[in-house]
C-alpha cells in the first residue's frame, strides 16, 4: 500500500517535472491541444446551432385547416370544430392543435398589417371575411398524412386543408442533409483532432526516448516508465481544455450577441449547450492526452 502511494507520487511529480524540463515540447503539445479543442468546440457549436435551427424550422411546419364560414351558423360550427380539435389532438403524431376563431384570425391579420405599417381597411368591411381554422403542429413534420386524412374526412366542418406535402418533403430533405452533414463534419474534425494530438504527444515522447531507455536499463518497471508520461498527457489535455474553455468563455458573450443579432429567430439554449460543450472539450482533452501517451510509450516498452 505504501509502495503504491510512492508510485503515484513518483508518477505525478515526474510527470510534472517532465512538463517543466521539456518546456518547449510541453508548450507545443498544449498549444496543439488548445487549437484542436477550439476547432472541435467551434464545430460542435456550429453543429448544435445548425441542429437547433433545423428543429426550429421544422417546428414551424403546421397543417392549417380552414373551416367553413357560413353566416349565422358560427356557433354550431364552433362546437363541431372543438370536437374535431379533440380528435386531432388524440393522434399520436400531433404535438399541438390550436383553434383560431374568426375574431382571433382577424385580430392576427390586423396585427400583421400594423407591423408592416399598412393601412388597416378591415374596419370598412361589413363582416369578418376570414374563416376560423385549426392549426396543427406535428411531432415529426413528415407524418402529416393521418392528420390531413382526418381533417379531410370532416368535410362538413373543414372547408380546405392547406397542402403541406410539397413544402414538408422539400424542407425535410434540406434539414436532413444539414443534420447528417453537420454530424459527419463533426466526426471528421474529431478524428483529425485525435490524430494530430496523438502525433504531437508521440513527438514529445520520442524527444525523451533516451530517458525511457535509461529507465529500462536501470531496471524501472513498465508502470514506472509509463505512468509519468500518462500523467503528463493528462495534464497537457486538461491544461489545453481549460485554456480552450477560458477562451470560449471570453469570446462567447460577443459571439452570442452577434449570433442573436444574425439569427434572431433561433432560440438556441446556450446554457445547456455550454455544459455539453465543456464536457466534450474536457473529456476529449483528457482522453486524448492519456490515450496519446499510452500509445506513444507502449512502442518503447514492448520487447
Amino acid at each position: 500500500m505504501f509502495g503504491f502511494f510512492r508510485f503515484v507520487a513518483f508518477s505525478v511529480t515526474h510527470g510534472l517535472q517532465g512538463l517543466r524540463r521539456n518546456g518547449l515540447m510541453t508548450i507545443a503539445a498544449t498549444a496543439t491541444m488548445l487549437l484542436m479543442l477550439l476547432l472541435l468546440a467551434g464545430f460542435w457549436l456550429v453543429q448544435a446551432g445548425l441542429a437547433a435551427g433545423v428543429s426550429y424550422v421544422e417546428q414551424k411546419v403546421e397543417i392549417v385547416a380552414d373551416l367553413h364560414d357560413v353566416p349565422g351558423a358560427e356557433g354550431a360550427l364552433t362546437v363541431q370544430a372543438v370536437a374535431l380539435e379533440a380528435d386531432v389532438a388524440a393522434l399520436p403524431t400531433v404535438r399541438s392543435v390550436d383553434f383560431v376563431s374568426k375574431d382571433e384570425a382577424l385580430a392576427q391579420f390586423r396585427e400583421r398589417l400594423r407591423e408592416r405599417g399598412q393601412v388597416d381597411l378591415t374596419g370598412y368591411l361589413d363582416r369578418n371575411p376570414l374563416p376560423a381554422s385549426l392549426e396543427v403542429k406535428l411531432v415529426d413534420p413528415r407524418d402529416y398524412d393521418p392528420v390531413v386524412q382526418l381533417l379531410q374526412d370532416h368535410s362538413r366542418v373543414v372547408d380546405d386543408v392547406v397542402q403541406v406535402q410539397q413544402l414538408v418533403s422539400e424542407l425535410t430533405t434540406v434539414t436532413g442533409v444539414l443534420r447528417t452533414g453537420g454530424i459527419v463534419l463533426l466526426v471528421l474534425v474529431g478524428f483529425v483532432v485525435l490524430f494530430i494530438i496523438v502525433n504531437t504527444i508521440r513527438l514529445a515522447v520520442v524527444a525523451r526516448r533516451e530517458e525511457i531507455e535509461i529507465m529500462r536499463l536501470v531496471g524501472a518497471s513498465d508502470a514506472f516508465i509509463r505512468w509519468p508520461f500518462i500523467f503528463e498527457g493528462a495534464f497537457v489535455g486538461l491544461l489545453g481544455a481549460a485554456l480552450a474553455l477560458g477562451i470560449i468563455a471570453l469570446v462567447s458573450g460577443p459571439v452570442s450577441d452577434f449570433m442573436y443579432g444574425f439569427f434572431r429567430v433561433l432560440p438556441i439554449e446556450l446554457g445547456s449547450l455550454q455544459a455539453d460543450m465543456a464536457l466534450l472539450v474536457v473529456g476529449t482533452g483528457f482522453g486524448v492526452g492519456v490515450l496519446g501517451s499510452w500509445l506513444s510509450v507502449r512502442s518503447y516498452l514492448t520487447k
Binding site: G3, R6, F7, F10, H14, R21, N22, E210, E211, E213, I214, M215, R216, L217, V218, G219, A220, S221, D222, F224, I225, K303
Partner: protein
C-alpha cells in the same frame, strides 16, 4: 554468470554469436575484446536480457534468463550496473539527480535514496560536483557519474561497454582505476573494450571474440602473447 552454447541470429539473418561458452566467477574482472562487429555488444545485451539467444542458455545468478518472465526483467536489471561509451546521462538533471534517478524509477523510498546516492558519489569521487549538470562536466566526470549510477543499486555485476571509448588515455586510466577499485569491493566486472594498452598492462582475464566466436580466453594482453 555463464553462457552455454549461445547462438544469436538477428531477424535480418546476421549471426552475431555462434556457440559461445563463457563463465564468469564471482568477483572477477574480465575484459571482452575483439574487432567491431565481433559480437561484444550482443553478448552484453544478452546478459541484461535486452536480447534473447536464438539457442543456448544464459545463466545469471543461477537463473536461466530465457525463463525469466518479461515483468521480472526490471528486477533482474537492478542487480546489474551498466556503463556505456556515451554515458547516457540526462542533460537536464544534475549529477546527484542522475544517480538518484536509478533509485527513484525503481520505487526506492526517499529516505533510502539520499544516503545511497551520497555513498555512490563518494566511491567515484564526485561529491563536489554533485549539483552540476552533466554538460558542465568533463568526459571523465560524466563517465564517473554514469558509474555512480550503475553502483547505486549495489549490483554484484557491472557491465561496461567501451567505457573509455570517448576518453583520452590519461582519463581512461582514471576510469579503469575506478573500476578496479570497485572490483576490489567484490563486484564482478565485465568490460568490453578496444583499449589495447589498458588490457595489456593489467594482465587480467581476456576473452577475445571474433566473428561471433570466442577465439581466446586467458589471462594476458590484448593480443595473443605468442
Amino acid at each position: 554468470m555463464s553462457l552455454r552454447g549461445v547462438r544469436k541470429v538477428y531477424p535480418n539473418g546476421k549471426a552475431a554469436l555462434d556457440d559461445v561458452d563463457l563463465t564468469l566467477g564471482e568477483g572477477e574482472f574480465v575484459f571482452l575484446v575483439g574487432p567491431s562487429g565481433a559480437g561484444k555488444t550482443t553478448l552484453l545485451k544478452l546478459l541484461i536480457r535486452d536480447e534473447r539467444p536464438t539457442s543456448g542458455e544464459v545463466i545469471l545468478d543461477g537463473r536461466n534468463l530465457a525463463r525469466v518472465p518479461r515483468r521480472k526483467v526490471p528486477e533482474l536489471r537492478r542487480k546489474i550496473g551498466i556503463v556505456f561509451q556515451d554515458y547516457k546521462l540526462l542533460p537536464t538533471r544534475t549529477v546527484r539527480e542522475n544517480v538518484a534517478f536509478a533509485l527513484e524509477v525503481t520505487g526506492t523510498p526517499r529516505r533510502q535514496i539520499r544516503p545511497a546516492v551520497e555513498r555512490a558519489l563518494a566511491v567515484v569521487g564526485l561529491g563536489a560536483q554533485a549539483d552540476q549538470l552533466p554538460t558542465t562536466l568533463s568526459g571523465g566526470e560524466q563517465q564517473r557519474t554514469a558509474i555512480a549510477r550503475a553502483l547505486v543499486h549495489e549490483p554484484r555485476l557491472i557491465i561496461a561497454d567501451e567505457p573509455t571509448g570517448n576518453l583520452d588515455p590519461l582519463i581512461s586510466w582514471e576510469i579503469i582505476q575506478l573500476l578496479l577499485r570497485i572490483n576490489e569491493l567484490g563486484v564482478t566486472i565485465l568490460m568490453a573494450t578496444h583499449n589495447a594498452s589498458v588490457v595489456t598492462a593489467l594482465r587480467r582475464r581476456v576473452v577475445a571474440l571474433e566473428e561471433g566466436r570466442v577465439v581466446r580466453d586467458e589471462v594476458g594482453g590484448y593480443h595473443r602473447d605468442d
